[in-house]
């Protein structure tokens, strides 16, 4: 009895396997490659193209390639000569950066990677602080690691530090007057607690230099202690509630005492200012010190029960702003008796550091993949905040601000990056006052930054437009101010929507960094080009291009995959 003739009850027939032509390899081939005549022809054409491309490429890259050796004679010239890449590898990665200083790049890179990893871990809870570190502190560390200290920068740093901390103090002291953070003067005080000693330290280093000219040591020490100590003690008083009330009741007495003590302290080393120093003592320093001491204790004038600024604070703040300006621009001649060169005092003291652990590596020596990453990362990090501001400006109701933002965005978007780089290298020096010069790399960075900020602004604007009007109105109805509406309600939603667009802009920027080779910076591609034109290694340009292409491809492809992953992850569905 054969299979065909067996009879079954209705519904009792055992399941038969599907026909061979519909499942398995054959079925897959039939549906996907040979479903119709036209499809079959297409498949054959595709196979032919694959045959033309793949075997020769594999043969060239792997089978016929030369992997070992150190000179061009080791290459048989039948396949790729990877010896070329091996010999030039360090240059392709780091340009002409001194080999013995490479540890600095490694350190900065390792730090970056170590700090970035937790950002990609969903469970990590302190992402905000890590992001702040990466955006503010890391760039400073990396800049000093990469470029080291130039002799001028070393000599100028006490003065610079003084400028920056004076500026920061001024802004902080002004905040309560503008109504911002009035209720948080304790936080302001804590920040001041850090800034005042920093400022005092930098100022004191200027007199320590004065010591070199003969001022007695004890004078300098007492001076520094008094100068830093007085405001420090007062600010510290804020931390303890029982002191706080006592100080608040006698606010002006304490403030003036602090100012006078600081003034005396800062005067101390000056009384012994030697004639041999070649100039008169910098009288403006103690004056500024007194003002700073007052400013440092100012915020707490607002904590009085009425909540109104103390009358002293009202008087002191304008005065402080004027003095801070003088410090920032350097003292005018009528204050700076004898035209003292402020930075000159510190030079001998820090001359030792010049040959210290981090000698300067000038930016023309930077190159290779390292330079590509520096330009791309700086452009990426800087363009996002500028882009957000521009996008908000473009959506503003104020016609002048809107017009300015539209003009800015459309201008940069309308011209090619090459002309921007040309402009930054040719016209930038013309725009600056005489004697003010910028590094070539810095000029290129500014160009790249402005260019990508315009693109970023359009991406962010797309996100802003996608937020329904009800969100703005609801947030406004809750009584939130514009900055709060934007930072707590609108931006988190808008930025989430445009993450793929932001990553795409990043990818575009990363590829566009190659253009810097036109203005004479040797990035990854530039080094490959340079290596290929080396007389000893002529004729290996293809290897160089393939290697750089592979490098760029890896970065761009992984970024685009990451953006697709984010898109899926953040797609909450509405």
């Amino acid at each position: 009895m054969t299979e065909q003739t067996r009879h079954y009850e209705p519904g009792k027939h055992p399941d038969l396997p599907p026909p061979l032509t519909e499942v398995g390899v054959i079925g897959w081939l039939r549906t996907n490659l040979f479903s119709s005549w036209s499809n079959t022809i297409l498949t054959l054409v595709g196979l032919y193209i694959t045959y033309l491309l793949v075997p020769p490429v594999i043969k060239w890259v792997f089978i016929d390639a030369d992997w070992v050796g150190t000179t061009r004679e080791d290459c048989s010239r039948e396949g790729a000569c990877w010896v070329f890449i091996k010999v030039w590898f360090k240059q392709l990665m780091f340009g002409r950066y001194p080999l013995e200083e490479l540890w600095r790049i490694y350190t900065a890179g390792a730090l970056l990677v170590a700090a970035m990893i937790p950002l990609f871990i969903p469970q990590f809870r302190w992402k905000h602080w890590l992001a702040l570190f990466l955006l503010i502190i890391y760039p400073i560390i990396a800049t000093y690691l990469f470029s080291g200290f130039s002799a001028d920068a070393v000599a100028a740093w006490p003065y610079r530090l003084m400028q920056y901390s004076a500026l920061a103090l001024g802004i902080l002291a002004l905040l309560p007057l503008l109504g911002v953070w009035r209720e948080r003067s304790a936080i302001v005080a804590i920040v001041l607690l850090v800034l005042v000693p920093l400022w005092g330290l930098s100022a004191s280093s200027t007199w320590t230099a004065g010591l070199l000219y003969g001022a007695p040591t004890w004078a300098a020490v007492i001076g520094v202690i008094l100068a830093i100590g007085a405001p420090l003690v007062l600010v510290a008083g804020l931390m303890f509630s029982q002191w706080r009330n006592v100080i608040a009741e006698n606010y002006w007495k304490f403030a003036i005492t602090a100012a006078v003590v600081a003034f005396i302290g800062f005067m101390f080393p000056l009384w012994a200012w030697p004639d041999t120093a070649g100039s008169s003592p910098p009288w403006s320093i103690p004056l500024t010190a007194a003002a700073l001491a007052l400013a440092a204790v100012c915020p707490w004038g607002y904590d009085r029960p009425s909540g109104q600024p103390a009358w002293l604070a009202r008087l002191l703040l304008p005065a402080y702003v004027v003095i801070a300006y003088l410090v920032l621009t350097g003292p005018p001649d009528f204050l700076n008796f004898g035209g003292l060169d402020w930075t000159a005092n510190a030079k001998p003291l820090f001359a030792a550091i010049k040959d210290g652990p981090l000698p300067e590596v000038e930016t023309p020596l930077w190159g290779g993949l390292f330079l590509t990453l520096v330009i791309a990362l700086v452009g990426i990090v800087a363009s996002l905040p500028i882009g957000i501001v521009l996008a908000l400006g473009r959506r503003s109701n104020m016609p002048i601000i809107r017009a300015a933002c539209v003009g800015f965005i459309e201008f940069w978007r309308g011209v090619p990056l090459i002309t921007v780089l040309f402009m930054s290298s040719v016209m930038f020096p013309l725009f600056m006052p005489e004697g003010m010069t910028f590094d070539k790399l810095l000029r290129a960075l500014i160009g790249v930054m402005l260019f990508s900020a315009a693109y970023m602004a359009e991406v962010v604007r797309g996100g802003l437009q996608a937020i329904p009007k009800g969100q703005f109105e609801a947030a406004g109805a809750l009584g939130l101010s514009y900055p709060k509406v934007m930072s707590f309600v609108i931006m988190p939603q808008a930025l989430k929507i445009v993450i793929p667009g932001i990553v795409n802009t990043f990818i575009g920027l990363f590829k566009d960094t190659t253009l810097v080779l036109i203005i004479g910076l040797f990035d990854f591609l530039g080094m490959a080009q340079l290596a290929a034109t080396n007389p000893d290694w002529l004729g290996f340009s293809v290897e160089g291009y393939v290697f750089t292409a592979f490098g760029f491809w890896c970065f761009c492809f992984s970024m685009s995959r990451y953006s697709q992953y984010l898109e899926r992850k953040l797609h909450t569905g509405h």
Binding site: T43, V415, P416, V426, K511, I518, V542, C556
Partner: protein, 400 residues
């Protein structure tokens, strides 16, 4: 009663006016004046510095230099140019070169992009994968790198004219460039373009008439075949009448180089290749997204009302897909035009190389020359986006 009265009096009282610094109007005014002031101060600062710097370097500002003799030659010119011509002429030559390479690049990139985009959606697995590999490879590699590859690694290492790579004995590719036959127009040739213009006008009228007739009576007319016939038939007829006043000048190897025919310098070929291959990947993705953006229900609905696959594609899917495709396509065209400035890297004589490069070096008129260069690109951008916006408006969904 008393309470009501009190309430009324409270309501009648005008609300307390906010202080000036809390009034949104004054705040807006304040910030705008601040920004305007900042911009004006920045402008004065920049202009002052620039004038001072120029005066110190002894460079006279102004556009007088455009009338002076340039004194350098350009390797590729579409209009008559020699070393005796003025800087203004070099400007024109380089602008035309930039436009030429952009237009040709846009043409090839669009065709290739549409083909690859459709191939990416093909039901044939192999074709779809090949298209995918093409897109993912080329669009993740910087354009400048591709340009270098085509120019330095492919075109410059080609054999010399004697060992040219020949295609059908009419096209020759060697390290001096690409040589192709050149059309020679004889007398009476003008009849053919005139016939072509007449044909196009006639097609427009026929299309309008056919559409009106279909709307009135429901009868269809084979507009496409009629248009095809007229488009090719009329010029052919004109050519027949005038006795084919067109011949081809073929490139011939003479001595060490080709003579006659049309010569395309290798820089041009490399630039067109790189620009169109690179931009095509983006266009392909746009086309794919456009087609995938049309829901499958549209096709099913079209079939349900009895349309055949051809008209479904032509009348239902493509018009809707175009609506999605056009805006991003515009920005790709803009990108291609701006990217054509990479020509400077391989010495194709475009605006950036000739005008913002050589002319700038010779005259030192940085402000004027960079300004003119940027103005040209801005104008091109505005023209392209203006045209595409017009086209987009025409294609856009007409809503109530």
């Amino acid at each position: 009663m008393a309470a009501e009265k009190k309430e009324a009096s409270v309501l009648a009282k005008p609300p307390a006016k906010p202080p000036v610094w809390n009034d949104p109007r004054y705040r807006a005014l304040f910030f705008q004046v601040l920004v305007l002031g900042g911009i004006i101060v920045a402008c004065i600062f920049l202009v002052n510095n620039t004038l001072a710097n120029l005066a110190r370097q002894g460079i006279a500002s102004g556009f007088d230099f455009l009338g002076k003799t340039a004194g350098f030659s350009i390797s590729m010119t579409l209009i008559e140019y020699s070393e005796e011509h003025t800087y203004f002429r070099t400007f024109l030559v380089s602008v035309i070169n930039t436009i030429l390479v952009s237009v040709i690049g846009v043409f090839f990139a669009t065709i290739l992009g549409f083909i690859i985009g459709v191939a990416r959606l093909s039901r044939n697995w192999l074709i779809a994968k090949l298209a995918n590999v093409y897109i993912e490879t080329l669009r993740n590699i910087p354009l400048l790198l591709q340009l270098f590859f085509w120019y330095f690694a492919v075109l410059r290492v080609l054999p010399g004219p004697r060992q040219s790579v020949a295609m059908f004995d009419t096209f020759f590719l060697n390290n001096r460039g690409l040589f192709s036959p050149k059309p020679v127009f004889e007398s009476g040739f003008i009849a053919i373009p005139i016939a072509l213009v007449i044909a196009i006008v006639a097609i427009i009228f026929i299309a309008r008439w056919a559409r009106k007739r279909q709307e009135d009576t429901g009868e269809q007319f084979h507009t496409f075949y009629a248009a095809l016939g007229i488009f090719f038939g009329l010029p052919f007829l004109a050519a027949l009448v005038t006795g084919f006043p067109l011949s081809w000048d073929y490139p011939v190897l003479q001595g060490f180089n080709f003579k006659g025919g049309m010569e395309m310098i290798p820089e041009f070929v490399a630039l067109v290749l790189a620009l169109s291959l690179y931009t095509a990947t983006f266009i392909a993705e746009i086309v794919r997204a456009g087609i995938m953006g049309i829901s499958h229900g549209q096709t099913e609905a079209a079939y349900a009302v009895g349309l055949r696959p051809g008209p479904t594609l032509r009348l239902v899917i493509i018009p809707q897909a175009l609506r999605i495709i056009i805006p991003p396509l515009t920005s790709q065209y803009l990108n291609l035009t701006k990217n054509s400035s990479l020509a400077a890297a391989i010495a194709y004589p475009d605006l950036v190389l000739v005008f913002a490069g050589t002319a700038l070096m010779q005259t030192g008129q940085a402000v004027e020359i960079i300004g003119m260069t940027m103005a040209v690109y801005l104008t091109l951008s505005l023209l392209i986006s203006g045209f595409m916006n017009w086209y987009n408006k025409k294609m856009a969904l007409v809503e109530r």
